[in-house]
Every structure is written in structure tokens, then in C-alpha cells.
């Protein structure tokens, strides 16, 4: 039955067949291996590398901001923050709920977190709570193992020790919002959560921020760092030294207490801004770690407008503070003489017009020359001078002193004020210029609007005998890096004319009938100044302005411009007190205090209350 030989042959052939099959399948394996390891080698190598190498940004430390005497205005303080890596959390909603219960987090913070999470990159750590209290850190530390993907990080958080005192100058940093995210250089801001939003923080953002470093970190499949492959250290942001003097700033800010207003003090020879105060200010610190919308709303809605930088953006009629410039315009244009006299009956009338342009002194100043007109702030004298000059010459002359245009200070958001002209009125108001408008421009009313900073700068320029002063806050060396060059301009002026006007301004303080004569007490230098009272509320013809009847909101703004010492000008100060009433009694003392503190630092300022 069985045929061993046949079976043997059959088995041999089957073995050969199997061996052939095995060889073919082995070749299949080899073919695939060649495909993966030779053809696809580069592709898979790249994938292996991106698998294990993670690029981690190391954000730079933000530059510190100092005042002129090295006092810290903005610093970075270490603080704890609770951060989540959403990709590592299995149930984010539940985790957030548990954290909220544990650490008493407001719904608003959760909403903010979700918004930031939306903007962040994959596997980025997104902060939920900034500036955690030690108590909360301890509370979380206990339960940390139950919260994978949640951790407490020590971060540097921006802090402004002077709070509202310097808020309008230094500004603040805040969380990068969606709009900023689009405009900021992506690679430079990886790992940075905050950006300058206001003030110096915004203007000098690129310098303060520094350069982001990167490290290539080898990670394992659990994304734990194994070792650092290479790293490029971050370049910390530049420290900035402001020209601001915090002591003077404080004097100005305190002196404004009870009022809304602004004070600007400029060092005349250099243009360094010593004081740039706007009251009320606000505490910028809550903005850093996310101000609640309720608190923000309260700030925005407040009548006092604490977020409004009055020194930079407040536009006020200059009132009588414009008179020295009008006087100088008259002298320079040779339409009048310093000793030219005019009789002031207490009002002024244009020919053939019934309307009476009133003087603040109802019964008039009598016969006054230019010096008297400035010292006593005679309106009638300047109505007449303005009429003689005409609006075009007034416009052209005031423009040289920087009215109607930005001063170019290194702060964002500056306003230009308004210097009217016939062309301007035709263009904007679509109306012709009326002669009466020239008259009131001559006493700093009407369309004319200036910022406190412009006033200070114009005063400094006047004190500098026409050498234009450009105010700045940060060391000039930085400007050139930032591509800004200041013009070195000189207004062509007759020195005698300037001296005459200045002598009249000295009389404002030191003369027997000066409107700011109270300032001369206890000083060993001369102040040149000019008071101003800007009408907010128009008093109708034949009506009397009654201080008590006018609501506070419509009360006059009190202004004062000054510089000292008159013979060797060093500091120029401009003060605007909103609804303060009379310039001589409210605004002038503030300027007086600042100059005294600056020029006589050895004498302790006595509060003149």
C-alpha cells in the first residue's frame, strides 16, 4: 500500500516548495525594510527627531524702570501662579470645578483662563491664578497629586510700587490680547504672557522685553525633559532710567489732592521731564494679573476719569497763560512796543459792533502798558493786541512754540491740542473766521486748546530764549536706538523782546500787583510766571460770573505756567487744575512748591496750608 520512495520524493518536493515560499516572503520583508530604512530614512529620521526634541522658549526678564535717582518704578517680583497644561488634563471642566471649589476662584477668572487657553499653543502652560497667596499655595500643595497637569510655578510678575503716583507715566503691562497676538513677533513672544499696554511700558516695549531664548530639550514619550540638547540664553530686557523725579512727582501729585488736574515740570536746558503728574491716577497692579471687569468698569465710569492722562491728553483752553506768547508775537511782528499804553475801561468793543468783550476786572485796569497787562492779566490790552496781529500771525507765531502739534515726548497717546486758523476753520467748521474769535484767542479762549505738556514745553522754550525744548522721559541714548532724533531748533527772536516779556512775567510773582505774588515768599531766586483762568462756562452778556452759582463742573480751570530762576532758567512748570477757580490762588502754589523743592532742596518744604 505505502510507497516510501514516492512519499519521500513528494516530501522533498514539498520541502523545496516551502523553502521557496519562505525565501520569497523573506525577500518581501527585506524589500519593506529597504523601503523604510533607505528610501524613507530621511523622513523617519526627521520624525524621530521631532518626536524627541521639544523647543522650549525661555522668556527674558523684563527690564526694570527707575526714576532719575534710581528708585524703582516698575520691578519684577517673584510670585506663585497656578498653571494648567490643558493637554495633560483628562477632564478639564471637572478639574476647573474642583480647583474653583478648593481655592475659591471667581467665575470670571475661569472665563479668562478659558480665553487664554484658546489663544495658547499646544502643551503650553496656561496660568489660572497669578500672585497666589502662600496659604493657597500650601492648600494646593497638599492635593497636588490628585491634579495631574496642574502645577504651581514661580514666575516674575510686574509690580509698580508707586501705584497711582506714576501710573500715567510708567503705564502697565497686561496679558497679551488677541489683537496684540497678531501684531507681535510670534517667536519673540513665545513664553511671554504680558506686553506693555500704556505709558513707558508700551512706548519702550521692544527694549524692555528683551530677547527670548530657546532651549532644545530632549523629551520622552511622557513629555518629561530628559536633557537639554542645546540652549540659547534669553537676553534680558534693558533697564530704563527715567528723567522723572519721584519726589517732585509726589509733591505735585499730593498738591493736586482734592482736584483733578495735571502738573508737568521740564528741565529747561535738556528737556528732561521731571514731573508728569495727572490726578487722579490709578493702581496699575491689578491690570498685571487681570483686573476684574467690575473694577475696570468702576475706573472707566468714574467722573474723575482716573484712567485719563490729563498731562498728556487733557486739552484745555490756556486762558491768560497764553498772554506772554501773544505779547511776544506782538513785539516780534513789530505791531506794538513794550511800553505802548492802552486804557482799559473793563471792556473792549470792535468797531461798529455792539458786543462788549469783558475784562475779568469789571471796572478795568485803567492805563496799562504791556508789562502791566501781563502782570495784572489785563484782557482788554490783549484783545487789542490780538486784533492788531490778526489770527494768521497769532497762529504762525504760536506754532513755533509747539502749540497745535505733539511735543514728541516718548509716551504713546499724546494729544496735539488745537491751534486755530482761518484755514482750519474753513476746513473743519466750514465757516469763515470772525474777528471776535481773534480777540478771544488773544486771551486763550475760544477754539485754542493746549495740553499741560505743551504749556510746559512752550514755557521752557520761552525761558530758553527760543531754543526749542523737546520733552523726553528716557535717556536720549535710547532714542537713537529706537530711531528717534530730536530737532535742534532755534526760534529766531529778538533777545530784548524776550527779556521784556520775561521781566513782565517776573512781576507776576514779584511785582506788587502780580497775580501770583504769594509765591515769592521764602525763596532765594526769581520766578517768572503767568496765571490763567480758563472759562469752561460762557457767561452771557451783561451777566456776572458768580462763583457760587456755577456748579463745580462748570467752574473755571485754574492754570499757571512758570520757570525759575528767571535769570538762569532751569525748571519750567505748567499746572492745570480742573475747575480750580483762579490760577493765582490754586495752580500757582503747586508750581511754587515744585520749584522750591527742585531749586532749594536743602530747605524742607513747609506745607502752606
Amino acid at each position: 500500500m505505502k510507497d516510501p520512495l514516492a512519499e519521500n520524493r513528494m516530501f522533498l518536493s514539498r520541502t523545496v516548495a516551502i523553502f521557496a515560499i519562505i525565501l520569497i516572503l523573506m525577500c518581501g520583508l527585506v524589500g519593506r525594510l529597504i523601503y523604510l530604512q533607505v528610501v524613507g530614512h530621511e523622513h523617519y529620521s526627521t520624525m524621530a527627531k521631532s518626536n524627541r526634541i521639544k523647543v522650549v522658549p525661555s522668556p527674558p526678564t523684563r527690564g526694570i524702570i527707575y526714576d532719575r535717582h534710581n528708585r524703582v518704578l516698575a520691578e519684577n517680583i517673584p510670585s506663585y501662579s497656578l498653571e494648567l497644561i490643558p493637554e495633560q488634563i483628562e477632564n478639564l471642566d471637572k478639574t476647573l470645578q474642583r480647583l474653583q471649589k478648593l481655592l475659591d476662584i471667581s467665575d470670571e477668572k475661569i472665563a479668562q483662563f478659558l480665553k487664554h487657553k484658546h489663544q495658547s499653543k499646544r502643551f503650553d502652560s496656561v496660568p489660572l491664578l497669578l500672585r497666589m497667596s502662600d496659604e493657597k499655595v500650601a492648600k494646593f500643595a497638599v492635593v497636588r497629586p490628585y491634579f495631574p497637569g496642574v502645577d504651581v510655578h514661580a514666575r516674575l510678575v510686574r509690580h509698580y510700587p508707586y501705584k497711582d503716583l506714576t501710573s500715567h507715566v510708567v503705564g502697565y503691562v497686561g496679558r497679551i490680547n488677541e489683537r496684540e497676538l497678531k501684531s507681535l513677533p510670534v517667536s519673540e513672544y513665545r513664553g511671554t504672557h504680558h506686553v506693555g499696554k500704556l505709558g513707558i511700558e508700551k512706548t519702550y516695549e521692544s527694549l524692555l522685553h528683551g530677547k527670548t531664548g530657546y532651549s532644545e530639550i530632549e523629551t520622552n514619550a511622557q513629555r518629561r525633559a530628559v536633557k537639554i540638547v542645546s540652549s540659547d540664553d534669553p537676553e534680558p530686557g534693558k533697564n530704563l532710567h527715567l528723567t522723572l523725579d519721584v519726589d517732585l512727582q509726589k509733591t505735585a501729585y499730593d498738591a493736586l489732592e482734592g482736584h483733578n488736574g495735571a502738573v508737568v515740570a521740564i528741565e529747561i536746558k535738556t528737556g528732561e521731564v521731571l514731573v508728569l503728574a495727572s490726578r487722579p491716577g490709578f493702581d496699575p497692579n491689578p491690570f498685571v494679573y487681570g483686573i476684574s471687569s467690575k473694577a475696570y468698569h468702576a475706573l472707566q465710569q468714574s467722573d474723575a476719569q482716573p484712567l485719563f492722562n490729563r498731562a498728556l491728553r487733557g486739552q484745555y483752553p490756556p486762558g491768560s497763560t497764553i498772554k506772554p506768547f501773544i505779547a511776544l508775537a506782538g513785539l516780534e511782528n513789530k505791531v506794538t512796543e513794550f511800553h505802548h499804553k492802552l486804557f482799559c475801561p473793563g471792556y473792549y468793543q470792535l468797531p461798529k459792533v455792539k458786543h462788549k468783550y469783558r475784562d475779568w476786572k469789571t471796572w478795568g485796569h485803567g492805563a496799562v502798558d504791556m508789562s502791566d497787562a501781563i502782570t495784572q492779566s489785563c484782557d482788554v490790552y490783549f484783545y487789542d493786541l490780538a486784533r492788531t496781529l490778526g489770527i494768521e500771525r497769532i497762529h504762525d507765531f504760536l506754532q513755533k512754540f509747539g502749540f497745535g502739534e505733539k511735543t514728541g515726548i516718548d509716551l504713546v497717546g499724546e494729544k496735539a491740542g488745537l491751534l486755530p486758523s482761518k484755514a482750519w476753520k474753513r476746513r473743519v467748521k466750514k465757516q469763515p473766521w470772525y474777528p471776535g474769535e481773534t480777540l478771544i484767542t488773544g486771551i486763550g479762549q475760544g477754539f485754542l486748546q493746549v495740553t499741560p505738556l505743551q504749556l510746559a514745553r512752550a514755557t521752557a522754550t520761552l525761558a530758553n530764549k527760543g531754543h526749542v525744548v523737546t520733552p523726553y522721559l528716557v535717556d536720549k541714548n535710547y532714542h537713537f536706538k529706537a530711531g528717534r532724533v530730536y530737532p535742534d531748533e532755534q526760534i529766531k527772536l529778538d533777545e530784548q523782546n524776550v527779556d521784556d516779556v520775561i521781566s513782565a512775567m517776573v512781576n507776576v510773582v514779584h511785582g506788587a500787583r502780580g497775580t501770583a505774588r504769594r509765591l515769592k515768599k521764602g525763596i532765594n531766586y526769581q520766578i517768572a510766571g503767568k496765571t490763567g483762568t480758563a472759562q469752561v462756562f460762557t457767561v452771557k452778556q451783561e451777566e456776572k460770573y458768580n462763583k457760587d452759582e456755577v456748579t463745580l463742573k462748570n467752574r473755571d480751570h485754574a492754570l499757571f505756567i512758570s520757570f525759575a530762576p528767571a535769570t538762569d532758567p532751569q525748571i519750567a512748570v505748567a499746572v492745570v487744575v480742573e475747575n480750580g477757580g483762579h490760577g493765582g490762588s490754586v495752580a500757582a502754589p503747586i508750581a511754587g512748591k515744585i520749584m522750591k523743592q527742585y531749586l532749594m532742596p536743602e530747605v524742607k518744604t513747609v506745607d502752606e496750608k
Partner: protein, 376 residues
Amino acid sequence: MKNETRSEQFHPPSVIGTLLRKLHVDIPLFIGLVLACSLSFLILYSASGQDITVLIRQAARIGLAFFLMIILAHIEPQQFHRHSAKLYTLGVVLLLAVLIFGMVGKGAQRWLNFGFFRFQPSEMIKITTPMMIAWFLSGYTLPPKAKQLFMAALLIIIPTVLIAKQPDLGTALLVASSGTAVIFFAGLSWRFMAATALVLAGLTPVLWHFMREYQKARVLTFLNPEADPLGKGYHIIQSKIAIGSGGLHGKGWLGSTQSNLDFLPESSTDFIFAVFAEEFGLSGCLGLLILYLLIISRCLYIAVQAQDTYSRLLAGSLTFTFFVYVFVNIGMVIGILPVVGVPLPLISYGGTSMVTLMASFGILMSIHTHRKFLPT
């Protein structure tokens, strides 16, 4: 006469050689196995993250497996022939027991716990199934008739289904292929095979219907791993990255970033080939495949040299099963076959399959060293 000259060809010149021959060890096969196991240590050291305890455990298993191999090599093939049916029946009964009493391990019932050790009947059935089929078919004239084929098919299907139910697709596949290999060596007609292949192709949708969810997922993942890179496709993608990044010459021993940094799962067990390929590159892979091919060649040579039908069929089948191990594992790791739990033979970390493999090599050595030489 012929046989004698051949045996002289392999006459070992040394004392160790004589000793090994006395131990009924086939020297070329033995050398191949030792080489493979040495490679296993080398790669395991790297894949386990340079863990010495892993090496010690593997050494213990290899020692045990070699011991079992030598014991089996001493048993005469006639003994295997005699007990084939009993061993097969025992195996099937144990498989049933696993299904009934089996404890749950890894979501699959595979173990029988005897208190002092755990036993995996599916490993035993890998050897007893081809023994049973070989015993059954060698009783008839070859090639087998339809009736015998039907019986043989039934004998294969019973354990295969029982294992697939555990569920352990990889082992079921190996058992089925080892049984089928016996029928193939027994002279199954090519025409019949073609017909069966067609029927099986037609049955694929039916089979799909009966597969477990995770088995379906594996097949789907195999067909398109990139569809789910962090989920089901992760294994294959990471494995391909490891192999591909190895290039021609590899990253060098201990240089596998994919495995050292834990991107590659199961790098010590089923996916160890990926680590090997990453560290030793294409050249290393070719060397490993050649080593496997040499072992297979020697085993097939043993099968051809076997003196009775039972031994031939069994030897052929065990050899083919070994190849299926190699092919299915590497095929899965390089992404041309679905992921089924089959280790890389002789290399992967893990006990039972190593012991089973060595047992089958023991049987092969027994078949070869117990040949009765015709007197001159």
C-alpha cells in the same frame, strides 16, 4: 553508506563537540540558537533601558528552555509518535479548562493557575496539534484522501477556535498554520489549496463579523495607521519611525532614541525588532534574517533527513511554524501585517513562547539524532 559519510562530515573535532553529540544535540542548529539568544541579550539590554534584572530573568528562561530542549532531544521520536493523541487530547481539555476556570489576565483568559506556577495550554497545543495531525495522517497512504483531510481540518479547527475565543489571535494563527503545514507536507494537492484560498477569501466578511472589537481595531489600524496617530495607530507609526530612522547602519548599540525615550511601546517584547532595526540598521536586519534563514534551512534539512513519515511531517511543520513566527512578527513591526501578539522568536523578552520554541527544536534534534543508520 551514504548516511555514514554524511555523519562523518559533521564529525566534531573537539571534546565539546563529542559531548554535545552524546547529549543528542545537533551542533549546527545549536550554534544558530545560541547565536540568536546572544543577540537577544544584546538587544534586550538596550530595549529594557539597560536593566540587568530583565537580562537575568531572560537568562533563567533561556536556561530552562535549553534544558527542556535537551531533555526532549533525548526522547526517541517513536515516543512522541505513540503519545501524540493523548497529548493532543490533554491539550484540548486544558484549553477548555482555561475557558471555564481561566483567570482573567490582560482582559484575556489564557492561563491556568496551578498554585505554584501558571500554565498556558495554548503554548502546549502549538506543538501537540502538528504532532496529532502528523500522527493521524502518517497512518494513511499519502497524499491524504478527502475524508482524512476533513478529519485533519477538524483537529486543527478545534484548538484554533478555543484559542481564538480566549481571545488570542496570534497563537490561534500559529496553531492553525502549524496544523495546516502538516497537511501541506503530507501532499495536499495544489488545486485543492487554491480552491480553499478562494473560499477563505469569500469567508473574510463572515470572519470579520465574529471578530472582537479590539481585533477589528487592530486590522483597521493596520490598514491605515495614520488615521489615529495618538490612539490605535501609535504602535505602528512609532515602530516605523524607529526602523526608518535606523537607516543603513543604524544608530549603534544603545542608540535607540525611540525606545530609550519610551516612544516605542512594548519595545522589549513584541516590538523588539524595531529597536534592533533602529540600532543596527538595514545591515543588521539582513544579518538577523540570514541567521533565521540558516536555522530554518538546517531544520528543513533535518526534516528531509528524517526516516519516517511522522517525523518528517512533524519536523517540517515545526520548522514552518518557526518561520511563521518570524514573518508575522517582523511583518507586523514593519507595518505590512496587522498587529497580532506574536513575539520575535528567540529574541523577544517573555517566557512561555521561548520554552515552546525550544521544545520544538528539542523534538527536531531528537528526530535528527535518533536516526538509525543502515548497516553497511
